[in-house]
């Protein structure tokens, strides 16, 4: 795929619209198949907001702190992160390799009245286009790509000098094998069996190395823990299962 599909027009038949609309409804149902992402989303957004506040010196209480920033959401899926980022004021470009996901995301954004530039494509496609973003987020995506270094290098290429990279993935530990893979897929059935291949999970040190090779410097690592009693995720120091990483591209 060498070109990012950006066309809004073109004939989409009614059956497709119905299918994408059903898919959008699935993506956006907090109790639907994407429930785990909905549960984890506030935590991811807290991390994104905090890092952006620090890095760009933003107002902690503003409802639109990202106003004026260009943000790329790579692996945006149905837009679960792209929409909040757009509400926070960012000009968001959402990129996903799934054409259906992108179609669903577009429909939903229109329904809720948000302007988001959704494109079918990959990180590499985005980089090839030559655009530069103040912030690139890639959450829960690197464990699904065949070439993690290529992915990170492409993501880094899309960041403007002095910009920010924010990533999230699953650690490769016995605990994550037990919880994120076995428990989540087979016992709790949070995600369909086979969603994740544990061998593709990255240790924080490995993720950090990929980022350094792409010319970024890592500034922050934070874990996410699941609180089973309140059924919610919280930010913390424990990196053993889900964690997020921030890195900065040098100014010059």
């Amino acid at each position: 795929m060498s070109e990012i599909t950006q066309s809004q027009g073109g004939a989409i038949d009614a059956a497709d619209v119905a299918r994408f609309s059903a898919l959008a409804a699935e993506w956006w149902d907090p109790d639907g198949p994407f429930r785990p992402l909905h549960r984890i989303n506030p935590c991811r957004l807290q991390f994104i907001r905090a890092r952006a506040e620090e890095h760009f010196g933003l107002d902690a209480k503003s409802l639109h702190p990202l106003a004026g920033l260009r943000v790329a959401d790579i692996g945006c899926g149905g837009g679960l992160l792209s929409e909040p980022l757009a509400r926070l004021g960012a000009r968001v470009t959402g990129v996903d390799a799934s054409a259906e996901g992108i179609a669903a995301a577009r429909l939903h954004a229109r329904e809720v009245g948000l302007e988001i530039d959704y494109r079918h494509g990959t990180a590499e496609d985005l980089a090839a286009g030559g655009e530069r973003f103040d912030m690139v987020v890639a959450m829960e995506i690197i464990e699904h790509v065949p070439d993690p270094q290529g992915f990170v290098t492409a993501a880094a290429a899309s960041i403007a000098p002095g910009g920010l990279f924010l990533g999230a993935t699953l650690n490769r530990t016995m605990k994550s094998l037990a919880l994120a893979k076995v428990a989540a897929e087979y016992i709790l059935r949070w995600v369909p069996a086979g969603t994740h291949d544990w061998r593709h999970f990255l240790k924080p040190s490995e993720f950090a190395r990929l980022l350094r090779h792409a010319g970024l410097s890592v500034t922050c690592l934070q874990g996410m823990s699941y609180d089973i009693i309140h059924d919610r995720w919280t930010l913390g120091e424990d990196l053993d299962i889900n964690y997020m990483i921030a890195a900065v591209k040098p100014s010059s």
Partner: protein, 412 residues
């Protein structure tokens, strides 16, 4: 209320919140939300001018300590022309000697609460809202048609305006039409008693002391208001209350004086009298798709003397915080998981409050009593309920977060 939009031509309005009801709860909600930058459209059937007229509502509200802090944190308190601090609460069993006595100095946190005339609260709310660009008041106007979908609330007003919002808040009082429309049922019961409310002028100053007496038919409360005046909340069984309400002024005054006593010198009734059946009503749920219930629409503990307002202020503080937290993360403030957080937070507090008040009511005597609800919420609550609530909270540890920021007097 940068403007009262019934005067402009714009037919289509868009906001974060559509608040149905511009009474005490609805306006306070809009102001609390505006403090976090959330924009509201408030739709109220009545004309604000008539709502602030003393003829419309001469009643007073006992605003508990925490609720007053919310008023302070949101800039409302400063606009309330006059209010009477409650410095001391004396509870007696009939005319027998004192058996409970609360002095605010024991707590060292200031007065138990403030007695304020409802019309002065309304006036302050309208004045505060008028200075906030985030608030648009449509009044007098009504909601003709409301449609809740997975992505938005759309409504049409009687004046022909189309509104689009992310969340609708029902602040419509006990008979909430939106609650019914959403199919949310209520549970509740009646106490077979009626609360009679009136204002009494007296010869001697009350020194900020509230009196609570357990008389055989039910509690009799004398609540200090500004000047040499007190607000009276007087409970009788339904049939006798109807009889009393039917008396001419002179006889009604005599009945009042027999119970009131002469410890404040000569007394006379000023202004009208009101009566309300004492009932308890709880909504089965606090939210539905894109809809959330607050204050009396969610729980009518009972309507006398605005005591239930304190519970409503707790709803408002919790909801404003939940919405602000979600909005600051860019989350959809009308989504079901955001509303679920409010529901969890408030459900426990409301139920424990009801359990405490209703339990105490029944404990104290078989047929005296539900005015305890009122007293507990409005007055003694400030002192006694926190202790009882701590007990409940220990049993349900973890289900209740901390006090909402606004009730702790902090900005959102």
């Amino acid at each position: 209320m940068a403007r009262n939009d019934t005067m402009t031509d714009a037919k289509d309005l868009e906001a974060d919140l559509l608040i149905s009801g511009g009474g005490l709860a609805g306006m306070t909600m809009a102001i609390a939300a505006a403090g976090a930058g959330l924009r509201s459209i408030v739709v109220e059937r009545m004309d604000p001018a008539s709502l602030t007229d003393s003829g419309f509502d001469g009643r007073c509200s006992a605003i508990a300590f925490a609720g007053w802090r919310l008023f302070e944190a949101t800039g409302i308190a400063a606009l309330i022309d006059e209010h009477q601090p409650i410095l001391d609460i004396r509870v007696t069993d009939g005319h027998s000697p004192l058996f409970l006595h609360y002095d605010h100095r024991e707590l060292g946190e200031g007065p138990f609460g403030q007695m304020v005339e409802n019309r002065l609260i309304r006036k302050a709310l309208f004045a505060r809202a008028a200075r906030m660009a985030e608030i648009t008041l449509l009044a007098p106007d009504g909601l003709d048609d409301v449609d809740f979908s997975a992505t938005a609330v759309r409504a049409r007003t009687a004046s022909g305006r189309n509104i689009r919002a992310r969340l609708c808040i029902a602040a419509e009082g006990r008979r909430s039409p939106l609650r019914e429309m959403a199919g949310i049922g209520t549970i509740g019961w009646s106490y077979g008693q009626t609360g009679i409310v009136c204002t009494v002028a007296h010869e001697y100053p009350h020194r900020g002391i509230a009196h609570e007496r357990f008389l055989p038919p039910g509690p009799f409360a004398i609540l200090p208001i500004t000047g040499r005046r007190s607000s009276l909340v007087w409970t009788e069984r339904n049939d006798f209350a109807a009889h009393i309400m039917g008396l001419d002024d002179a006889t009604f005054t005599l009945e009042m004086q027999r119970r009131f006593g002469d410890f404040l010198g000569r007394t006379e009734i000023t202004g009208p009298r009101w009566s309300y059946p004492l009932t308890l009503q709880l909504a089965e749920r606090l939210s539905a798709e894109r809809l959330v219930l607050i204050a009396d629409a969610a729980h009518g503990i009972h309507p006398i003397a605005g005591q239930g307002l304190n519970l409503g202020l707790r709803d408002i503080a919790a909801l404003a915080e939940v919405l602000a937290d979600a909005a600051r993360l860019g989350l959809d403030i009308g989504s079901s998981d955001v509303l679920a957080r409010y529901e969890r937070w408030r459900r426990f507090d409301t139920l424990s409050m009801v359990a405490v008040t209703d339990g105490l009511t029944r404990l104290f005597s078989n047929d005296i009593a539900p005015l305890r609800l009122g007293r507990d919420l409005g007055l003694a609550a400030v002192n006694r309920l926190p202790e009882l609530k701590k007990l409940f909270m220990r049993h349900a540890r973890g289900t209740v977060g901390e006090l909402p920021k606004l009730l702790a007097g902090q900005p959102l």
